[in-house]
């Protein structure tokens, strides 16, 4: 049976890179893939969410292909909000499994630091239904805050049960050289940071970030012909959608699309959840960490906070989440984030995660969302 492999991954430090353009970020990140040159690429997928708004630049397929000296190779920009990177990876996976491509370059790139503070608040809400949400001045953070309040009230929990996730993320990022925020923080700091939309605090959200990450996918047929130092199998990938307005779903606290995508991705290689020891999740707001972990069954409903407190999601626990700090602390360069997640799992499965390494890890998975779970993508990787 035809298989898909990742033969190289590259990522830049997530930061506010004032001096860098989309083009320069792309060239830097592709330079990091030097070990897998020379390429004969069949396709390039460029993940980016906001280029036409923040840099007045669309058509990033041809532009990025030219940037990296690969004009002539078919190239396409993929946009799926915060899940653009994962959507590009899924597209590459499908292209290879279809037999139409043997080698695919997936690049995620985003420059959010060009936005004004008001644009930084407005732009994430583009993933929600504008006529219902954005038009009313309701931000995505405000929607997340209302889900957060509903969660605390339903399960009668103290805020700590949600607000501790950013503390864990900063702890993990403190050992990650490419993380945007490498400082540790405390629950007291999180709960005394400025209120964004009550109960949501500043340190429970992400901040403008620039970044680029890239991976090279290849088929099992092409693998012997490609020069590479490490290899990981992309064993499963899937996506699903949900009703867009979260409060219109049967249960706003259940991320059904994430659950469907995750289990479909696991089912392809016939894996169970318990075999996954490294899991990258989409914690663009602290509450999403709780909702994802409960929706995909790692914790019972309302219990992810207690489980986290007991160390279930940290080193030595059942599954380590966001080993480089996740969206919260590694940073969330919107369209690039999914490719960062994949590159990080690649580092874990090839034993090159440095101080963030999880010992003896054979399987890793990632979940990426757009909006507040209206699209979900899941990828599962296996030691090569």
């Amino acid at each position: 049976m035809r298989k898909v492999y990742i033969v190289g991954a590259s990522l830049l430090k997530v930061d506010e890179q004032w001096g860098q353009s989309i083009d320069s970020l792309v060239t830097q990140v592709v330079d990091g893939l030097a070990e897998v040159r020379p390429w004969k690429l069949d396709s390039i997928y460029v993940a980016n969410a906001l280029g036409e708004i923040l840099q007045n630049q669309a058509n990033l397929g041809a532009i990025v292909a030219e940037d990296v000296g690969l004009t002539g190779v078919p190239a396409l920009r993929v946009e799926a909000g915060g899940a653009s990177g994962a959507a590009a990876l899924l597209s590459g996976y499908q292209a290879i499994l279809s037999g139409l491509a043997d080698t695919v370059l997936v690049i995620g790139v985003e420059k959010l630091s060009d936005a004004t503070p008001e644009e930084s608040v407005f732009l994430p809400s583009l993933s929600e239904r504008y006529d219902l949400v954005g038009f009313q001045g309701v931000t995505e953070a405000a929607l997340a805050a209302m889900m957060y309040r509903m969660y605390l009230e339903r399960y009668e929990l103290p805020q700590e049960m949600v607000a501790q996730f950013p503390v864990l993320m900063h702890e993990h990022a403190s050992k990650a050289p490419h993380a945007q925020y490498q400082f540790k923080t405390t629950l007291e700091n999180v709960l005394s940071s400025p209120v964004v939309s009550p109960p949501l605090r500043r340190l429970e959200t992400t901040a403008p970030a620039d970044g680029a990450a890239a991976v090279i996918l290849c088929s099992s047929d092409a693998l012997p012909t490609i020069q590479h130092e490490q290899v990981v199998e992309l064993a499963g990938a899937a996506s699903s959608t949900d009703i867009v307005f979260p409060f219109d779903r049967e249960d706003p606290l259940k991320l059904s699309a994430a659950a469907r995508a995750f289990y479909e991705a696991l089912a392809r290689p016939g894996l169970s959840r318990e075999q996954v020891k490294v899991l990258e999740i989409h914690d663009s707001y602290s509450i999403l960490a709780n909702l994802i972990l409960e929706s995909i069954g790692y914790s019972a409903e309302g219990a992810s906070g207690v489980d986290a407190k007991n160390g279930m999601f940290d080193y030595g626990g059942k599954v380590v989440i966001n080993t480089f700090g996740g969206l919260k602390a590694r940073g969330h360069p919107l369209g690039a984030t999914g490719v960062y997640q994949a590159a990080e799992i690649f580092l874990q499965l090839t034993g090159r995660a440095g101080a963030c390494q999880v010992d003896g890890v054979k399987y890793g998975a990632m979940i990426s969302l757009s909006g507040l779970g209206s699209s979900a993508y899941a990828l599962v990787m296996k030691e090569g």
Binding site: P117, E118, F122, S125, D131, G137, T139
Partner: protein, 143 residues
Amino acid sequence: MHAVFRPPVNWRHRRFRYRLVVWRCQNCGAVHHYATSICRRCRSNRVAEDKLPDRARLITYTVVKNPPVAFEKQAPYIVGLVEFEDGTRLVAGITDCDLEELKPGIELERVVRKIAEDGESGLIVYGYKFRPAITRGRYTPGG
């Protein structure tokens, strides 16, 4: 950044924004804020124009402290999740009240208010908001 509010869009949505005219599936009851011939929930083709009631209940609420484009001058402002008798939910600005007056479950009524101005020379757009019910009436469909 390009204009947030465009005249044709504003015109197109006028009945929904000013009067909560919606399109309701005659098969499953699902509500659409846009004209459609396919129900988004059950795919029935039997969708007909309807109007949401003027009263609703508050489910939960929060405050926008960091405003988006075009709402800079209004922050901080209250936004809430409201539910109509048929179960339809909307988020909207909550107006004419202090935060302390708001409790989940209280009755709200729809008003039309200025939503935002698009800069110095752009559109001034209006639409629905909700306030704690102060006029006489009951919480009934079409109320």
